[in-house]
């Protein structure tokens, strides 16, 4: 009994850290993704190729390598970040790179007529992108974005590798203390499954809520 009450309370602390990681990284990643995606379409040669390179780089690097680069590598050029900050930065960069793909695709899929109509009523390019294109594009990209957030919840477990005390790290510590691997890791798997299901449900609700009535996709 002692084991369970201890494990559960430590796991709760770990859950709070995991939630903190995701709750901060997810919005940052989404904003970065939208900015990168829009830059890739409208950014011209310089900003556009910068955004393309940036997103290719962080899609090509495994997240765990990015994490080690930020946490162990950056101090060599004088940038010291604590573990949680390093994790948040890496998660945001990685998911931003992936989300930019969805956003770019969504922007490209918006009917040309929308852009022409915006021009016809005298909108500037910035107004057109902000008020006409992006509100539609983000709705189309949101399914992909929700997938990325689900991945982010799962991959947030990698933060254990730089010493962040999130759920997986707690489980691993208990695994080395007690001979109860099956209980420890199956409970953890169940928690992640529930989190994944809840997040998927949340985004399904959000997608339904944001839907434009009677608009054919």
């Amino acid at each position: 009994m002692e084991f369970w009450s201890e494990y559960l309370s430590s796991l709760l602390m770990g859950f709070l850290t995991t939630s903190e990681l995701v709750a901060i990284s997810a919005p940052l990643g989404i904003i970065l993704g939208i900015a990168l995606g829009a830059s890739r379409v409208y950014g011209g040669i310089i900003l556009g190729s910068f955004a393309r390179g940036f997103s290719a780089l962080f899609r090509g690097f495994p997240l765990i390598v990015t994490l080690f680069l930020v946490f162990f590598g950056l101090p060599e050029i004088g940038i010291y970040l604590p573990p949680v900050t390093s994790a948040i930065l890496s998660f945001s960069l990685c998911s931003g790179a992936y989300i930019s793909e969805y956003v770019r695709g969504a922007i490209m899929s918006i009917d040309q007529g929308q852009s022409l109509a915006a021009k016809a009523i005298g909108m500037t390019k910035l107004q057109e992108v902000l008020y006409i294109i992006l509100p539609q594009a983000i709705r189309r990209a949101i399914y992909g974005i929700s997938n990325e957030i689900v991945y982010m919840i799962q991959y947030s477990s990698l933060a254990f590798a730089i010493g962040v005390q999130e759920m997986y790290s707690v489980a691993r510590t208990y695994n080395s203390l007690y001979f109860k691997s099956l209980e420890i890791f199956s409970l953890l798997a169940v928690i992640y499954l529930v989190l994944t299901a809840l997040t998927t449900l949340f985004f399904k609700g959000l997608i339904r809520k944001l839907e434009i009535p009677s608009k054919a996709e």
């Binding site: 997240l63 590598g73 890791f185």
Partner: protein, 224 residues
């Protein structure tokens, strides 16, 4: 600068890790294919009850982080069945089972996107269900699935780095050793990143080539 030159002596050591990474990726993709394709066929052509059971498999392996799966199988599930598998074998099996869940989704989508008229036509000329699947649906579905499959390659390649957590001697584990031995981090990890980057994009490039070579002229690839 001298300490950076000392890194060169580790290049063969890291290069050997490429072989380990390759066996993780190819083993994982192979097992994933063996699991994923029958799973997709059963989900597409099997009954509802079977579909539900198989969905549970897919749901479990897609919803659990790879790290948790690796730990669960390495420390709990395999030992409790009496297998003592080394980290490499465990990792290949776990990557494979997980990839099987993802690949089944890929193949299911491609099977769905084969034009329904093809199935009707096959039935009309009296093909059995087995022949219909083998000679009509799969040859088209597999071609359609190549782009998504190449994406799965990229995913599993990057996921293979996570197997460092069990101490598999793949690229990242070795780079970590080098980092500890030399006290340097930026250049070793950057090197690891670039190595994965090159492996990712050269692999997907090869898949693109295969996709183009195996295209059936005039075949319409369904909405994907």
């Amino acid at each position: 600068m001298t300490y950076i030159y000392s890194l060169f002596q580790y290049i063969p050591f890291i290069a050997e890790g490429v072989l380990w990474t390759a066996s993780l990726v190819l083993g994982g993709l192979g097992i994933g294919f063996i699991i994923g394709l029958p799973l997709a066929i059963a989900q597409s052509f099997g009954g509802k009850k079977l579909g539900k059971v198989l969905n549970a498999y897919v749901w479990f392996f897609r919803g659990t982080p790879l790290l948790v799966l690796l730990s669960l199988f390495y420390w709990a599930i395999f030992p409790s069945f009496g297998f003592k598998l080394d980290p490499l074998k465990t990792s290949i099996l776990v990557l494979g089972m997980r990839s099987g869940a993802y690949q089944s989704q890929i193949f299911k989508d491609s099977i769905k996107s084969v034009d329904y008229g093809q199935i009707l036509a096959a039935k009309a000329i009296g093909m059995t269900q087995r022949k219909l699947i083998l000679y009509i649906v799969l040859p088209q579905a597999l071609r359609i699935s190549i782009p998504a499959w190449s994406n799965e390659y990229a995913v599993i390649l990057k996921d293979s780095a996570i197997c460092f957590a069990l101490g598999v001697m793949e690229i990242l584990t070795r780079v970590r050793y080098v980092s500890t031995a030399t006290g340097l981090a930026l250049i070793p990890y950057l090197f690891a990143g670039i190595l994965f980057f090159v492996l990712t994009f050269s692999g997907t490039g090869i898949m693109d080539f295969i996709h183009k070579r195996t295209r059936i002229p005039g075949m319409v690839e369904g909405l994907r």
